[in-house]
């Protein structure tokens, strides 16, 4: 036991250790509360409990909103939605984009390369939020549409990273060594090229995760993703905006929760990047 | 100034601030004396501290959090340890020139060669701007660059490794310095280019009486070019010996280095290596730092700290405690 603690302390002292630890701790707290409070707490997110606009109190630490619902329960029940949607919105493009990027990076056909290259660069030229808003007006809004849109467009960012990386990796000596050793092409791609490419795309995915959380909330704020009566940070903030002056708790708590999640993740990402750099 | 050596380093100690409390010594008990017009070779394995020692001569220690902890460092009588920025500005680039390692630095990629030479020439604020081009061509001729007018307009990436180094040397000699510090100037260059650059350095010494410190890990090279050789190991100068007498070395490390030369071995013969690895910074052993690798070690080698160079003959100094017992 002592040995394990000593090992942990050593890991902590390496560059970035504190950042990763703090970030994970913060994120873990949020997720834990997101599981416990909505499921085991006294109230339900949609339950009309008491007088609207009741200020924070012992029974309702975050107060009640404009329809008399418990803000705390609603805030934490949004964790699953925001983090869950963001997770899907990142992991699907990550998978698709990485694979396409590797295939392109290794492709030799000139036509395929230029066509795909233009496509990827074209998609990447637009900021994510703009594309999302534009497509949502066509596809109709809602959380499901958001995930679909992210899958359709965000993969291009991963593909660009993974393609460049695949090209670089394939020229390395250890790949040439694998060829002279007679490894099958399949083996080389799966065991040698892919891990070295995905390390970059996964790193990007972590920071993308933060962005997507904010985008999802932002879209909900605009009324394009999660809609009332769903408890979601963005839509809660949108609803509560009108009452900000008198009943600040309708907006502040979901806002803080959003910030907390984003900040915790950025600690983790910063910590990892420091570790890689060796500071 | 009469009576002054051109460069005098005495028991220099260079430390590095690792954390707020921890300090590491990178160079310790290093001594070196150079007179005008001498070419001195500084040789050592990686981690020997030779690069740090060079940095202390051009005043770039601070950039890496290093500083001189103790000892003396005098250039032409001027104390460089306490020297203010204004003093350094007069010395760096003007009286002490620097030629960097060929593979690493080099001409600034976004400036033309002409622009960089001009910068080096105009370090002398009184130099008339109208004469800059003439002087640039003059310098390029000294370093034996053909078609200098074309080169002035080119950028770094258009030049070969050898030409780049010649340009760096041209910049270094622009102010006719008294001392040039050349840190592995030909490492990574082809051997024919290396030979030419070495000839060039010898010519510069001859024409301008410039002293040169040539840092390298290549003993045959240093042996051929330099008047005297200073050997460094684990942050200390362990011996100073004239090139031609290297076989009569009185330090086990120098002897080991000499005997491990690949050009002295018969093809496919037994290669002599030096035992172990040089101790890394921070884990220097007690006593003589070569003791763990030395074939000649005795107990007293491990206990005596701080082994400075001792004069044992004409222009020959060593730090080995048992030097008088080394027969050849």
């Amino acid at each position: 036991m002592k040995a394990k603690f000593a090992k942990f302390k050593e890991w902590l002292l390496l560059p970035g250790g504190f950042g990763i630890f703090t970030g994970l701790l913060m994120l873990g707290t949020m997720i834990l509360l997101g599981i416990i409070i909505p499921n085991f707490g006294p109230y339900k997110p949609d339950e009309f409990i008491g007088d609207p606009f009741l200020p924070p109190s012992w029974q309702h630490p975050f107060g009640l909103d404009q329809l008399g619902r418990d803000v705390m329960t609603r805030t934490f029940s949004s964790v699953g939605i925001d983090l869950g949607v963001a997770f899907l919105g990142v992991s699907i493009p990550l998978a698709i984009g990485t694979v396409i990027g590797i295939l392109l990076g290794l492709a030799k056909n000139k036509y395929v390369l230029s066509l795909a290259g233009s496509l990827i660069d074209g998609i990447n030229a637009f900021p994510l939020l703009i594309i999302a808003v534009a497509m949502l007006t066509f596809l109709g809004s809602g959380l499901r549409s958001v995930v679909v849109i992210l899958a359709i467009t965000n993969w291009a960012r991963y593909a660009r990273i993974s393609r460049t990386r695949a090209v670089v990796v394939s020229k390395q000596n250890y790949i040439e060594a694998a060829k002279t050793l007679g490894f099958s092409r399949r083996r080389i791609v799966l065991k040698h090229i892919a891990p070295n490419v995905s390390s970059e795309t996964v790193a990007y995915a972590l920071s993308d995760f933060i962005l997507v959380i904010v985008v999802v909330s932002g879209l909900s704020f605009l009324g394009l993703a999660a809609k009332p009566p769903m408890a979601e940070w963005g839509s809660m903030i949108a609803d509560g905006r009108a009452y900000l002056a008198q009943s600040w708790w309708l907006v502040i708590f979901p806002g803080l929760a959003l910030c907390w999640s984003a900040v915790s993740l950025s600690f983790v990402v910063e910590g990892i990047s420091r570790r890689d750099r060796g500071i | 100034m009469l009576g002054n050596h051109l460069l005098e380093i005495k028991n220099l100690k260079i430390d590095v601030r690792v954390t707020k409390k921890r300090r590491l010594s990178i160079v310790d008990t290093a001594s070196l004396i150079i007179e005008p017009g001498e070419i001195i070779g500084l040789i050592g394995e990686s981690g020997s501290g030779k690069t740090m020692l060079c940095r202390s001569l051009v005043g770039t220690l601070g950039r890496r959090g290093a500083y001189i902890a103790s000892g003396e460092l005098k250039f032409d009588g001027i104390d460089l340890i306490t020297a203010k920025q204004s003093v350094w500005n007069d010395i760096r680039g003007k009286r002490i020139g620097y030629v960097p390692q060929s593979a690493l630095a080099g001409p600034n990629p976004v400036m033309t060669i002409g622009a960089q030479l001009a910068e080096a020439i105009l370090q002398d604020e009184n130099f008339p701007k109208s004469d800059v081009e003439k002087r640039s061509l003059e310098l390029l001729n000294i370093v034996q660059i053909r078609r200098p007018e074309t080169v002035l307009k080119q950028y770094q990436h258009e030049l070969s490794g050898g030409m780049k180094q010649r340009v760096m040397i041209a910049c270094a000699i622009a102010q006719q310095p008294q001392l040039i510090v050349a840190d592995e100037p030909t490492t990574g260059l082809d051997v024919t280019v290396q030979a030419e650059i070495m000839e060039l350095l010898k010519q510069i010494r001859k024409d301008f009486n410039t002293s040169i410190i040539l840092v390298s890990h290549d003993l045959p090279l240093i042996n051929e070019i330099c008047d005297d050789i200073v050997i460094m190991h684990a942050g200390t100068t362990v011996e100073k010996i004239p090139s031609k007498s290297i076989k009569a070395s009185k330090h086990p490390y120098t002897l080991a280095l000499y005997n491990s030369r690949i050009d002295l071995v018969l093809p496919k013969g037994q290669l002599k290596t030096i035992n172990g690895q040089p101790p890394s910074v921070g884990s220097w052993p007690e006593g003589c730092r070569f003791s763990e690798r030395c074939d000649f070690v005795k107990d007293k080698c491990r206990t005596k700290q701080d082994l400075p160079l001792i004069e044992i003959g004409s222009n020959h100094q060593t730090s080995c405690l048992r030097y008088d017992e080394i027969a050849r």
């Binding site: 060829k179 | 990686s46 024919t192």
Partner: protein, 247 residues
């Protein structure tokens, strides 16, 4: 056994109309300065690059078949060690795994046995079991080169092509690597050593080819080349070696 080579240039005429023979059990050195085309030549020999014209034969069998080189059982015979110890090993694979993978490919052992064999092989190259479990980034340049050699040897080749194996490592690691090559030569390995370092070439080679601008300007027995160079360029090269000035 011989590897013969007879080729014309690459698009940029990296290698121009050269002829080359490697007899069994011999070490041949190819010496040339940067840009001489020697690395390209090494890669053609190992099958990584296809010459624009001409052919390479191994034991009188052409190595090329359409777009493929060294097919089937032929592949293991010629292996390569590269210059850069940093790029030669997969950074995401532990050393022992990388070697075991090669062993599994060529010696047909199962996972467990190949791991044991890998540890043994690495140990014989001076890499301890402890170090073998590490990732490449935790080893020194010299250790990485030796690991690369171990990987190449797992295929039990008859020819090893070494492209500037000592150029990126320090003196003592160089000496260790050369000693290792020496031992391998004694065990019967044929080596093609490509380098710009004349000392290394002189130490290991029986026969030397001097390359300049894509052509072999001179070739001959090692002692002949070093003590009695005939061509101007060769003479210039030899006299540039510190201590060997003919002035």
């Amino acid at each position: 056994m011989s590897v013969t080579f007879d080729s014309y240039g690459d698009v940029i005429k990296a290698v121009d109309h050269v002829n080359f023979v490697l007899p069994k059990g011999q070490t041949i050195g190819i010496v040339g300065e940067s840009g001489s085309g020697k690395s390209t030549f090494a890669r053609v020999l190992s099958g990584l690059q296809i010459p624009t014209s001409g052919s390479v034969t191994f034991m009188d069998k052409p190595i090329q078949n359409g777009k493929n080189t060294y097919e089937g059982a032929l592949r293991k015979e010629v292996q390569m060690v590269f210059q850069d110890p940093y790029g030669s090993l997969n950074p995401r694979m532990r050393i022992v795994k990388a070697i075991a993978e090669a062993i599994r490919q060529h010696q047909g052992l199962d996972k467990k046995a190949s791991r044991v064999a890998a540890l043994d092989l690495l140990e014989s190259m001076g890499i301890s079991n402890l170090d073998a479990q590490k990732f490449p980034s935790k080893l020194s340049g010299g250790q990485r080169q030796r690991a690369s050699v171990a990987r190449a040897l797992s295929a039990q080749p008859s020819v090893l092509i070494a492209d500037e194996p000592t150029s990126a490592i320090d003196q003592s690691a160089q000496a260790q690597l050369l000693g290792l090559f020496n031992d391998l030569i004694k065990k019967g390995l044929s080596i093609v050593l490509v380098s710009h370092d004349l000392g290394v070439i002189r130490y290991l080679s029986d026969y030397v080819y001097v390359m300049k601008d894509g052509i072999f300007v001179e070739s001959g027995k090692s002692e002949e080349i070093f003590n009695n160079p005939k061509e101007e360029y060769t003479k210039k090269l030899i006299s540039s070696i510190p201590g060997r000035s003919t002035k």
